[in-house]
Symmetry: C2
Subunit: 233 residues, 2 copies
DNA sequence: CGGCATCCGGGAAGATACTG
DNA sequence: CAGTATCTTCCCGGATGCCG
């Protein structure tokens, strides 16, 4: 018996900024808690509900449901049914949703300079790989032409470094110069924490094969930015 | 008698994403409701508490207080006491806080392409001027060299167009080609709604003086972007 | 009047359990 | 596996009141 709310409003007053500014409107769309991280998780391709849950530790099922509903309603995410025999439902970004990538990158660059930023926390595959796309040092990458294969569990990615740029795509790799297998946290420790591959390998957290000199150079391509100036100018 | 919560935690469990990703950390800092709009309002210079309240219709005093406390704690905002006789307290961005400007711009560009975006809503001075910095058409601006003075109430700004770029700064203007006086909403209607200056002037909402041909050209410099593609590719 | 502190109602987020 | 149902907690928004 829930006869309380017969106030008959199809939309129960979604909380919005009544502001014509495009920034405010963007926050209406992806400003709710977890929303932008859901988008980040989909940047490299479609995922299933339980994958999203696993990669976003801390989100609860009902909140994830709500965010996906909202993102779908706004045209940022589409739900798609895979053909049999997979027959699973996946969520993927629309073209416009993909265009949110610069937002995630700019936020990442800015947030990494925070005095409170702690790079030693857990990180998801999408979070780490997205950081590679944005945090590489232009000087460090100059002159390198290499392909590095990364496997996290059953997902594979290729990091392609050439012409002073770093590109990351999901997909199987056949001809890569280095192959890294393990967890995002371990690779993050190697790249951002400076932990040697040998240490991680000895603990069974990471397996590196191929051109080891290149692998070690890869470790140095992503310098953490200087902490920002938080005192008044 | 509030003897309930003596659980003695200096930080009462602030809600955070426990994620090493810089994007997630940025959202820890400026992801709360209203936070980024407070930053937007400070992009053109310091403001007082009541100015912020007036320019952010819908925010309540206690929430503004909380956001300012948080932003100050994170090193994004500083509070400063003006010398007598003004003797007022103002809030201003730290250098790092200023660096959040690209975040606001990128969000604005993306949000303006939303199918749900409604440019006819109220807008603040900072919101409108910030949109000028990001939404100008490169083709439309090419070859123009002009200075346009804008006065909203007692605040003045200069829009400087040259070398294919648009810069906006707060400050008094002496030698500008055009002077526009009125409200942000009226100027927004002229620029984004295509409402002729004569109509707005007749209603006493906007006063334009100086090079009227340039003023009318200024109206055409900010084409609204095409709506985004929200169907799957 | 500016800059908060306090109290309250509603709603969003978090945790857990449960179902098709 | 992919969500719903339920309950609790916390945050947001509005009103009021204090205090320099």
């Amino acid at each position: 018996m829930k006869l309380e709310k017969i106030t008959d409003r199809t939309e129960p007053t979604r909380r919005r900024y009544d502001d014509a500014c495009g920034t405010a409107h963007a926050l209406d769309l992806i400003g709710e808690r977890w929303a932008l991280l859901v988008v980040r998780e989909l940047l490299f391709g479609p995922k299933r509900f339980s994958d999203l849950r696993a990669d976003l530790p801390g989100i609860s099922a009902n909140v994830l449901t709500q965010r996906l509903e909202g993102l779908e309603e706004f045209g940022i995410v589409t739900r798609r049914k895979l053909p049999p025999p997979a027959s699973a439902q996946v969520y993927e970004l629309t073209p416009w949703g993909m265009d949110a990538q610069p937002i995630i990158e700019v936020l990442g660059r800015w947030g990494a300079r925070s005095p409170h930023h702690d790079p030693t926390m857990p990180i998801s595959a999408a979070g780490l790989l997205s950081s590679f796309r944005t945090m590489y040092g232009h000087d460090q990458v100059k002159g390198i032409d290499a392909r590095i294969g990364v496997r996290f569990g059953r997902e594979s990615f290729v990091i392609h470094i050439s012409h002073g740029r770093v590109e990351v795509t999901r997909g199987e790799f056949d001809t890569t110069d280095v192959i890294i297998e393990g967890t995002p946290v371990a690779l993050g420790a190697a790249v951002y924490g400076g932990v040697p591959f040998e240490t991680l390998a000895a603990q069974g957290m990471l397996a590196v094969s191929g051109d080891m000199a290149l692998a070690r150079r890869f470790q140095t391509l992503f310098p953490l930015p200087a902490k920002a100036q938080t005192a008044s100018a």
